[in-house]
Amino acid sequence: MTLLSLSDVTASYGAAQALFGVSLTVDEGDVVALMGRNGMGKTTTIRTICRMMPVKSGEVRFRGRSINRVPSHRVARMGIGLVPEGRRCFANLTVEENLVAAARPGDWNFASVSQLFPRLAERHDQIAASLSGGEQQMLAIGRALMTNPTLLILDEATEGLAPIVRQEIWNAVRTLKATSALAILVVDKSIKELASVADHAVIIERGKDVWTGPISGISKDVTDRFLGV
């Protein structure tokens, strides 16, 4: 069943339009990769989904309901967990406080997140501002999981992580995919990794979706044209 759908969504930063009509769908339990070169509008798409910026035209639907006018915190409570670009941990809170700040009941709790990222448990009393970059990234993921979402959005969630941790995170994503009904919308620069976890891919170019299909269907031609590899 369709969990999230965007149809022809446009959005702008002030006068500068950034999205020129993005459409995509994420089904329950589906893992969708959102791809595109730098500055093409991936993050902007995610921001409109999370209602961190207004939808100018088009429609965003989540669980069958239009969320064009639903405020950000209500969208989150409907079951969207966001790992934002640039981590955005609450700098003045401790690790543990970051995790519990927005926690909602469910399978994910401090113990299970600690299991996924033991480093966080070690540092639970440290102020987030003084964490290393990678630790902050783990914290951001943990924090999103603690809201027990049905749709997890990862925007460059492996940026700046050590290869071994990156593998752990991809493993974690694979575990999530295998063991839960969690749907995932993921932005990442590593095509190789995306290919191994995602079911579908959507590629955006200059604020429009230009290619949609099963991830296995991405040809060399497509990557050359839209991803510049």
């Binding site: 500055g39 480093r119 290393s132 510049g228 590899v229």
Partner: protein, 251 residues
């Protein structure tokens, strides 16, 4: 040994009980890219901060171009020619790309106490700034406010600013982060040429780039350097694999 541009000797730094740097010694030689890798939280950025002067080490010394700079501030070190990029992009949000880079040129020229000259009418300044912008491929975006740039573009701006300082050594903290595949390969090419202008101490988690670029690699784990060597040596070092690379990268 004459071609050692930058070196640090037995640097130690503790945050409470946490030993972020333990007797770290490291050098950077003319013409090389020396990559510093290691798990998250190993102390790489902390080390860079101490070398750049943003943080004082508890013990140990830093030498740059033959001077002991341990007691100098970040500003003074930057004036000596230590160029730095930040792990999290640090730009002047309300300035255009051009202004951001021109500011760096200004800093390099060392005369910011001019009250009457019009900065953007100074030809040499602007030309130098535009060259740097072109080198990172931001020509088209030169008049855009830095705040309006996409993440990857901001990373490039960060590099352009470092270039504008015409530094004698670069400290680059994860310049590829968030760059996208295309951007990363461009950046790789750029750094490859850059090393001949000034050696680079490079922190990066993108192993493709590191292995492609680095003349030497040092691995920092829990504040200690556990290995230094060429790409092949590091790739095949079991301890490094266990602590950092994992299994896939060995393939």
């Amino acid at each position: 040994m004459t071609d050692v541009v930058l070196s640090c000797t037995k640097i130690s730094k503790a945050f409470g009980a946490l030993q972020a740097s333990k007797d770290v010694s490291l050098d950077l030689q003319a013409g090389e890219i020396h990559a510093l890798i290691g798990p998250n939280g190993a102390g790489k950025s902390t080390l860079i901060r101490q070398i750049s002067g943003a943080m004082k080490p508890d013990r140990g010394t830093v030498h740059f171009l033959g001077h002991d700079v341990t007691r100098l501030s970040a500003i003074e070190r930057a004036r000596l020619g230590l160029g730095r990029s930040f792990q999290i992009s640090s730009v002047i949000p309300d300035f255009t790309v051009l202004q951001n880079v021109a500011l760096a040129v200004l800093g390099d020229e060392g005369n910011s106490f001019h009250f009457f000259r019009d900065l953007l009418k100074g030809r040499p300044t602007v030309e130098r700034a535009e060259t740097c912008i072109a080198r990172v491929g931001l020509e088209d975006r030169r008049a855009v406010r830095a705040a309006d740039l996409a993440h990857g573009e901001r990373r490039r701006l960060e590099i352009a600013t470092a270039l504008a300082l015409e530094p004698r050594a670069f400290l680059l903290d994860e310049p590829m982060a968030g760059m996208g595949a295309e951007g990363a390969s461009e950046m790789t090419r750029l750094l490859d040429t850059l090393r001949h202008e000034a050696p680079i101490l490079l922190i990066e988690h993108d192993m493709d780039a590191v292995f492609a670029l680095a003349n030497r690699i040092s691995v920092l784990v829990y504040g200690e350097i556990i290995a230094t060597g060429t790409s092949d040596e590091i790739r095949s070092n079991a301890e490094v694999r266990r602590a950092y690379l994992g299994e896939e990268e060995t393939a």
